[in-house]
Structures are given as structure tokens and as C-alpha cells.
């Protein structure tokens, strides 16, 4: 075996890398959490690390619908944004503590995804993308015009999070390290749930529908219901990410609801590798680090991102993690 591997040159590395990738794939939640636990020391600064956590979670939720269920949603900004406003408005306007605001944000996004999902999952393929895009614009305009509650164009301000005492420990979210690990704990729990969903029979049905909808229907699975449920689940993860975003920034910019945000999360998922567990997190990491570097040099970030989009689609449709696992399993 060794002789053959060495004779083939590059194969040697692949043989060594494959078991490692196998181990990481088997204990995916643990591997991700270990990496994210040491990540603050690798990132340029803590606020960026928190952003990567949040957008990684958002991209993971988006990946559920796009990568696993095979439906391209262009409206996830609405679910992320409603998670943020649903959490931020009670905190800023009614003085609710953050640990109540957080589930409220998730519930708001969940209710929205029930409604949006009901409309959108009646349609297929490209219609689905159009309908989700249009409905997310509805959310955008409603929030934009409801100035008294949402702050309208200026965004929602004053989502302040005072320190709390839990089990005798004094927790101040203003401290970046505390904030990072608190959010990491929540993200890790979400990741675990996500991993369980993928491993469940429901996850298998979802992928079956992606691969061949008619066959799944012929096997007796309720296709529309599965698609709707997948959309709602995806919306809950996105909403959680949005709620965390509101707490992280202490404000909610109206741009979180813009369809450009939907494109950003799509870009992250593609960059990392759609339909893979680590891909979206890796994509969020690369995207935000790149943005951090590029925006120092030039204001034309969209030119860079657009070019990246085009090159990815043309040459690396599998994304970084997807290409890596493909190369290892070849």
C-alpha cells in the first residue's frame, strides 16, 4: 500500500488526510465547537469573531433549505431580520431582559417562516426563489414604514443588554470575551440540534425530496409538508442568528432585511460548500475575514464580491469544504 501511494506522488497526502476528514465528519459538532472555542485567538478582533459565529449560524440555517432540501430561497433576510427585530424591539422599547428577547426573536422568525413558507413551498424551482424574494420585500417595507416601533430607515436603536447574575456569576455581555463564549454556547446547542435533524429520518426524507421529488412522493412521503417544515426549521435557525445579531450590535440596521442580506448568506453557503455541515461556517469565516481586509483597502467591496460570485459559480461550484471532501474521497 505504501509503495503504491508513494509511487503516485500526491495520493500519499490524500491517504493520510482521508481518515482525519472521516473523524471530523463523524464528530462534526464537537470538531466545530473545539475550533470555535480557540477561534477568538486566531481572529483579528473579538467583534469579528462574534460576527462569524452569528453569520455561520445563519448560513447553517440557510443551508438546511438550500443545501439539504434543495430549495433556493432568496428571502432569508426576512427571517434573519425578523429574528433581530423580534428580539430587539422588546428589549429597546419595553425593557425586556435579553434572555426573554432571544426566544421572542426566534418565535417571530418562526411565525414569519410559517406564513412565508406556506406561500413559497406551493411553488417549485425558480418560482420558489422569486416568491421568497418578493415576500421578504414585503417584510422590508412594513418594517421600513412602521417607524414608531422599528425606527424605520435609521434602524432600531438602543438594544442595550445590562449585566445579569446567573448562578452567582456576574455576566456582562458588554465584555467581548464573555459575549463570544455566551453566543458560542448558544450556537453550539443549535449546531447539535441541527446535526440531529440531519441524522433523523426527517433529514433523510428532505434529501430524498431534493434528489427526486416524484420518487419521494411515490414512496408515500408528504412532499409539500416536508418542504414547509424544512423551511420553518431553517427559519428558526436564521431567526436565532438574527436575535443574536441584535444583541451583539445593540442596534438593528434596516439593511439586515434587505435582499442583499439574502444574497450574502447565499454567498457564504456557496463559498464554504452547500449541503455540507462545515461549509456554511467556513464560508462565513472566509467571507467576513475577506470583507474585513478588503474594506480597509477599497470601498468597492461589491465589485470584489461580485467577481468572487462569478468565479465561484464558474470554477468552484462545490465551495471550499465541498471541494476538500470531494478531493479526499476521490
Amino acid at each position: 500500500m505504501a509503495a503504491g501511494a508513494q509511487a503516485a506522488g500526491g495520493t500519499d497526502w490524500r491517504l493520510r488526510a482521508a481518515p482525519l476528514i472521516g473523524i471530523i465528519a463523524r464528530h462534526r459538532v464537537l470538531a466545530a465547537v473545539i475550533f470555535l472555542a480557540v477561534f477568538p485567538w486566531l481572529a483579528p478582533y473579538k467583534a469579528l469573531a462574534v460576527n462569524i459565529l452569528i453569520f455561520g449560524l445563519f448560513a447553517m440555517g440557510f443551508n438546511l433549505i438550500y443545501g439539504y432540501a434543495g430549495m433556493l430561497s432568496f428571502g432569508h433576510a426576512a427571517l434573519f431580520g425578523l429574528g433581530a427585530y423580534g428580539c430587539g424591539v422588546p428589549i429597546a422599547k419595553f425593557g425586556v431582559p435579553w434572555f426573554i428577547g432571544l426566544p421572542l426573536g426566534v418565535v417571530t422568525a418562526g411565525l414569519a417562516s410559517v406564513v412565508i413558507g406556506w406561500f413559497a413551498t406551493r411553488s417549485r424551482g425558480i418560482y420558489f426563489a422569486m416568491v421568497t424574494l418578493a415576500l421578504s420585500q414585503v417584510v422590508y417595507y412594513v418594517v421600513f414604514q412602521w417607524v414608531s416601533l422599528t425606527g424605520g430607515e435609521d434602524g432600531l436603536r438602543g438594544v442595550n443588554v445590562p449585566a445579569i447574575d446567573v448562578f452567582g456569576a456576574h455576566l456582562s455581555i458588554v465584555d467581548p470575551t464573555v459575549k463570544y463564549y455566551l453566543i458560542l454556547a448558544i450556537v453550539a446547542a443549535a449546531m447539535w440540534v441541527f446535526s440531529r435533524i440531519l441524522a433523523s429520518p426527517f433529514g433523510a426524507v428532505m434529501e430524498a425530496i431534493r434528489e427526486n421529488e416524484r420518487r419521494a412522493a411515490a414512496c408515500g412521503y408528504d412532499v409539500n409538508r416536508t418542504r414547509w417544515l424544512a423551511f420553518i426549521l431553517s427559519g428558526l435557525f436564521s431567526g436565532l442568528a438574527g436575535a443574536l445579531y441584535a444583541i451583539h450590535l445593540s442596534i438593528v440596521p434596516i439593511e439586515t432585511l434587505h435582499y442583499f442580506t439574502s444574497a450574502v448568506v447565499l454567498m457564504m453557503t456557496l463559498l464554504g460548500g452547500m449541503g455540507t455541515f462545515f461549509g456554511p461556517f467556513l464560508g462565513a469565516l472566509i467571507y467576513l475575514l475577506l470583507q474585513d481586509v478588503v474594506t480597509v483597502v477599497t470601498v468597492h467591496w461589491q465589485l470584489v464580491v461580485g467577481t468572487l460570485f462569478v468565479l465561484l459559480i464558474l470554477f468552484f461550484p462545490r465551495g471550499v469544504w465541498g471541494s476538500l471532501t470531494h478531493w479526499a474521497s476521490r
Binding site: M130, L133, T307, V310, I313, P317
Partner: protein, 291 residues
């Protein structure tokens, strides 16, 4: 509401709808034949307005500028099809959509770099400014011109598709590409032309809208969503649907902004939701054929 006021709102809606019709026609033409949703459509619309403004400055003639825009923007569209979109045929419906989205971002930032982030003025020519007496009411001449131009474009497009050999090939291609290919038609060239024509329509819509809406880099961003809503209401890939839904949406916006200005931006989405409840494929929707 008196009759003259009603007619005024109706005509205002038709003028607005004309822009939507041109945009949606381009989208539907491209979708119906190439099965591609062109997310760069809004940016080609914006590019049309900019090219028009520069051509106006260069040539000093509105009519020449109006002619130059579809040619230039169409040529750009053909380049995009040849070098970016073509490698993606047969690779699913998502990839071209995402690629054109990226292309749109490139166009948007390129215009910002070349022409600045501030808007530029685009005055309507003297002949078309002012108002025209339509018997019962006075109507802005430029908006009347919009309706007339759109009607002429529709007529030309109808003639091209129904009465010329090229139109026959295009209609056949929409029904069954393989058979058309087997019959010895160079399908790749047909797609090139169709993509160029669809994008040219977006550019034309942009330059026509410029005197009303102004010319600025972000002008294509919100209207892209409006154009999508129009195509979803009409049925994606349906040309008749694009026309009917475009006018319907224009008139809806016009009347709601008169009666309930708060909900004007929302009205078209409500219209879309209503249509989708009863007809999930839109008013005239069929799978991937020009109707």
C-alpha cells in the same frame, strides 16, 4: 371620483406599467427560452439609463441616444451570455441565477467607479415636456410617449416572433430545443440573440424611465424585485403574461398611491399573493414556453 380623475390615474398607471412591461418582457424572453432568471436585469436597466445620459451628452440628440442604448446594452448582454452564462447551460437553474447576481454587483460597482455615486440629470427633450390635452384631462406628454413607445416595441416584437423565420425558430426553440437542434439550427446563436434582446429591452426601459426617475447607480435594485413580481404574476416565460401583468401592476400602484399612499409599495406584493393563492404558476404560466 370623477371620470377625468379616474382616467388620469389610469393613464398614469399605464405609463408606469409600460416600464414594467418592457422589463418583464426581457425577463420572460430570457427565461422562456434559456430557462435563466437574469438577476442582473435591474443593473442592465440602470446601465441603460447611464448609457442614455452619456449618449445624450455626446450626440446631443435624444432620439439617437434612445437608439444607441438598446444596441450598446444588448451587445454587452451578448458578451455576458457568450463568456459567462454559456458554460452553465445544463447545470441546473440555480447557477445562472447566482452568476447573474454576481454580474449585477460588478456592473453596479463599475458604474459607481466610472460615473460616481451621485446621480446625474437626464432631462426629457423639449418636444416631450409639458402636457397634452386628451379631451377630458391634461396628461404629461412624456408619459404618453412612454405608452406609445412601449406599444410600438410590443408590435415590433409580435411581428418579429410571429411573422419572420427567425421568430419561428425562437418559438420552436421554446417548445423543444432538441428537435430544433436536430433540424440543423444553430441553437447557441439563437440563445445569444435572445439574451441580447432581453437585456436590450431592460436597457431601453432604463433610458425611458430616466427622465422620470432620475439616473443613479442604485436605481436598478428595487425595480428588479418589482419586475420579478410582474413576471411571477404574469407567469414566468409568458410574454402575454408579462404585458398583462405589467400594466395591471402599474395601474394597481397608481390607484393605491392615490387612495392609500401608505400601502402603495406593498400593493403589488398583495396582488402577487392573491394571484399565487389561486394560480401558483401565475396568470398565464406554463412550464418554460413562450406564450
Amino acid at each position: 371620483m370623477t371620470l377625468d380623475l379616474f382616467l388620469l390615474q389610469l393613464f398614469t398607471g399605464l405609463a408606469l406599467g409600460s416600464i414594467y412591461v418592457l422589463l418583464a418582457l426581457g425577463l420572460s424572453l430570457i427565461f422562456g427560452l434559456l430557462n435563466i432568471v437574469n438577476f442582473a436585469h435591474g443593473q442592465f436597466f440602470m446601465l441603460g439609463a447611464y448609457v442614455g445620459a452619456f449618449a445624450l451628452g455626446l450626440l446631443g440628440n435624444f432620439w439617437l441616444a434612445l437608439l444607441a442604448v438598446p444596441l450598446f446594452v444588448g451587445a454587452l448582454g451578448m458578451l455576458a451570455e457568450r463568456f459567462l452564462v454559456r458554460p452553465l447551460y445544463g447545470r441546473g437553474i440555480d447557477y445562472p441565477l447566482l452568476l447573474t447576481y454576481g454580474l449585477g454587483l460588478i456592473l453596479l460597482d463599475s458604474v459607481r467607479i466610472l460615473a460616481g455615486t451621485e446621480g446625474i440629470p437626464f432631462p426629457a427633450p423639449d418636444v416631450l415636456s409639458g402636457a397634452t390635452d386628451l379631451g377630458l384631462f391634461f396628461f404629461p406628454t412624456y408619459r404618453l410617449f412612454l405608452i406609445v413607445v412601449t406599444a410600438l416595441v410590443l408590435l415590433a416584437l409580435w411581428f418579429f416572433l410571429e411573422k419572420t423565420p427567425y421568430g419561428l425558430i425562437i418559438r420552436a426553440g421554446a417548445l423543444d430545443q432538441e428537435i430544433v437542434q436536430v433540424l440543423g439550427v444553430d441553437v447557441a446563436r439563437v440563445w445569444l440573440i435572445v439574451f441580447g434582446a432581453g437585456v436590450a429591452l431592460a436597457g431601453l426601459a432604463g433610458v425611458l424611465a430616466a427622465p422620470i426617475r432620475g439616473v443613479f447607480p442604485e436605481m436598478g435594485i428595487p425595480i428588479l424585485v418589482d419586475a420579478f413580481v410582474v413576471t411571477v404574476i404574469g407567469g414566468m416565460g409568458s410574454l402575454l403574461g408579462a404585458v398583462v401583468a405589467g400594466l395591471l401592476v402599474g395601474v394597481t400602484v397608481s390607484f393605491t398611491s392615490f387612495y392609500f399612499p401608505q400601502t402603495a409599495t406593498l400593493s403589488i406584493f398583495i396582488l402577487m399573493a392573491l394571484v399565487l393563492i389561486f394560480r401558483p404558476r401565475g396568470l398565464f404560466g406554463r412550464a418554460g414556453a413562450l406564450g
